[in-house]
């Protein structure tokens, strides 16, 4: 019998093909537009997030627990060689970047500015993200002593060019002020002005010599196989290395985390607004459909169709209104997100200033499968809720009154 009820519900959908068609197309377009918009903004934010994480944060960072307070160089990671080796054996770790760090002052004859000095090892860290942003010159290498890579903003402030000389001064591990002259080997220009201003790179050997210990490693940055799993991976590492401070990108860059969480929320808010609109139009349509069928429903009740059956008939009918359009909309959304996810949507005509936020002018929409799944569940839930009221209306139907209207 239930199959008869379902088939009757389906046939009822097509009694008024125009009206049902309009609702079905609205559901289709709403689903498609909602998901595609979500994919678009997600792609935009994800891109910016990815760029920022790639450039300056990474997925996980490891430091001496006391290092983060004052960047005192004596708080280095002990036995860093062994640690890096064992990290390298973990299958989920894709990239490890170990550096020494000092904070100090960059000075030129013209000006001075506070900077973070990263002591890097270019051979070991071939994947250093800043490399792709170098506009002039190169990474510091061993061919010359005390070479330095600086940002264009700092170069501007200190009035430096390639091959200009500048002085870095900072505290060594004994707390004494130390410093040396460096020669600009390269200038980078990333999307972040702050970064371009306050971040410089020198060779680890050069920095550590000045700091007073050649083995110093202050910060190990790890990139894993999946950003979303960073918290779980960090938990593992914390259990394994209880004496080290292990932070994920969410702790290191709360602004990014906020952006990420807001984005997540936004995606759902967009969809919820669309769904609420659809629910109302579905309820409205179905109430009309039930109301104009009072006599027929009264007749059915009279000849012995029980309440459960009329109820479920209307439930199915409403369900079909949603369940025809939604999967098609979902499929279209998936297709268009996949298509534009490959080709990109070029916004350069509209959006010049995006670059400053690490947002590129070509947007590659993307959405995780979890989002599709959640959307499907939300739509199914909405279909169910919007079906309840019209179906409930049939329960109070009085067959005598409905039949009286015949005469």
């Amino acid at each position: 019998m239930i199959s008869k009820i379902i088939s009757l519900g389906w046939k009822n959908v097509w009694r008024n093909p125009t009206r049902s068609g309009v609702v079905i197309i609205a559901v289709l377009l709403g689903t498609w537009a909602g998901i595609f918009t979500a994919g678009f903004f997600n792609g935009m934010v994800q891109d910016s997030l990815d760029n920022q994480i790639e450039l300056s944060v990474g997925h996980i960072q490891i430091e001496h627990p006391k290092f983060q307070d004052l960047y005192n160089p004596k708080y280095a990671i002990s036995n860093s060689d062994k640690l890096i080796q064992s990290l390298g054996n973990k299958p989920y770790i894709e990239n490890i970047l170990a550096k020494s760090v000092a904070t100090g002052l960059a000075q030129s004859p013209k000006n001075s500015f506070g900077v973070t000095i990263n002591g890097i090892n270019p051979q070991a860290d071939s994947s250093l993200a800043v490399t792709q942003y170098i506009k002039e010159g190169n990474l510091p290498d061993r061919s010359s002593r005390n070479a330095i890579l600086i940002g264009n903003k700092l170069a501007e402030r200190l009035d430096l060019d390639l091959t200009s000389r500048m002085v870095l001064s900072f505290q060594d591990i004994d707390g004494e002020i130390t410093g040396a002259a460096f020669k600009v080997a390269g200038i980078f220009n990333t999307f972040s002005d702050t970064y371009n201003e306050n971040t410089v790179f020198v060779l680890q050997d050069d920095l550590n010599r000045l700091l007073g210990n050649s083995d110093l490693i202050h910060n190990i940055r790890i990139d894993t196989d999946e950003l979303a799993m960073a918290e779980n991976y960090a938990e593992n590492l914390r259990a394994e290395y209880p004496n080290l401070k292990i932070k994920t990108w969410r702790e290191i860059a709360p602004d990014l985390r906020y952006m990420f969480d807001m984005m997540d929320l936004m995606l759902y808010i967009v969809m919820i607004i669309i769904i609420i609109g659809l629910v109302f139009s579905i309820i409205n349509t179905m109430l009309m459909a039930v109301l104009e069928r009072t006599r027929e429903l009264g007749m059915l009740r009279a000849i012995g169709m029980n309440k459960a059956r009329t109820f479920s008939m209307v439930m199915w009918e409403t369900g079909f209104l949603t369940l025809v359009g939604a999967p098609v909309g979902l499929l279209l959304a998936w297709l268009s997100i996949s298509y534009f996810g490959n080709t990109g949507i070029n916004l350069s005509a509209f959006a010049e200033g995006f670059g400053a936020y690490g947002i590129s002018t070509i947007i590659y929409p993307e959405l995780t499968w979890q989002y599709y799944l959640n959307i499907m569940l939300m739509i199914a839930g909405a279909a169910f809720i919007s079906a309840l009221y019209p179906a409930w209306k049939t329960l109070s139907l009085n067959p005598v009154e409905a039949i009286r209207k015949f005469n």
Binding site: M1, L8, R15, A302, I303, N306, R309, N407
Partner: protein, 231 residues
């Protein structure tokens, strides 16, 4: 034993300011196989009586007993079920589900009774043959004339193997030829299947075909006349 017995059935409608006494004590016995017309002027209570007999409405006072079951003892949902299994209905209009074909309409009531699909289908086809619509089984109501729709409704009423068929003004929307044909067909089914029919009408030609004529006036039985031998 009578198929239907009503005992001092009264019905008072209180919906308006003045109470309306639609039935004022109706005692009626309908025996199996009767072909009875309920007649009377408009407003005399025909529909009210048929609704009460059919378990669609409840009397203000009095009892309705159908095949030994006192309808007042049944709950709302039991009544729906009782109607499904014991009573066939033919209304003046809107008898059929517009999105279903003739055969699907007839089958539907049997499917609700939980009978196997095959049986429903075969029985529906043979019933549609009996009402003379073998060439229309796959037509939807909108493709049938008013008379044909009423025939499908009669077939549907018989499909549930009811104790009796109630028809409230089944010919009210039909021309006189179709009305006559419908009544002839019902009379034939009454003879052949020994099916009990109770119908209301104020069409004289329809009244002429009845075997028993119960006349209502102002909610009371004014006359009860048996004209021909019932089966």
């Amino acid at each position: 034993m009578a198929v239907i017995t009503t005992k001092s059935v009264t019905k008072v409608y209180n919906s308006d300011k003045v109470p309306v006494h639609a039935l004022r004590g109706v005692d009626l016995n309908i025996e199996k196989g009767e072909f009875t017309a309920i007649v009377g002027p408009s407003g005399s209570g025909k529909t009210t009586l048929l609704n009460i007999i059919g378990g669609l409405d409840t009397p203000t006072e009095g009892k309705t007993i159908v095949q030994g079951t006192d309808l007042s003892t049944l709950s709302d949902s039991e009544l729906i079920n009782f109607r499904l299994h014991h009573i066939g209905f033919v209304f003046q209009a809107y008898n059929l589900i517009p999105v279903l074909t003739a055969v699907e309409n007839v089958s539907f009531v049997m499917q609700m009774q939980g009978r196997p699909n095959k049986e429903c289908h075969n029985k529906s086809i043979s019933l549609l043959k009996e009402v003379g619509l073998e060439d229309k089984i796959n037509k939807r109501p909108s493709e049938l004339s008013g008379g044909q729709q009423q025939r499908v409704a009669v077939a549907r009423a018989l499909a549930s193997k009811p104790d009796f068929v109630l028809a409230d003004e089944p010919t009210a929307n039909l021309d006189s030829v179709s009305s006559g044909e419908l009544l002839d067909m019902m009379a034939e089914l009454n003879q052949k299947e020994e099916m009990t029919f109770i119908f209301s009408t104020h069409d004289q030609r329809v009244i002429d075909r009845a075997h028993r004529v119960v006349t209502l006036v102002d909610g009371k039985i004014d006359n009860d006349e048996v004209r021909a031998q019932t089966v």
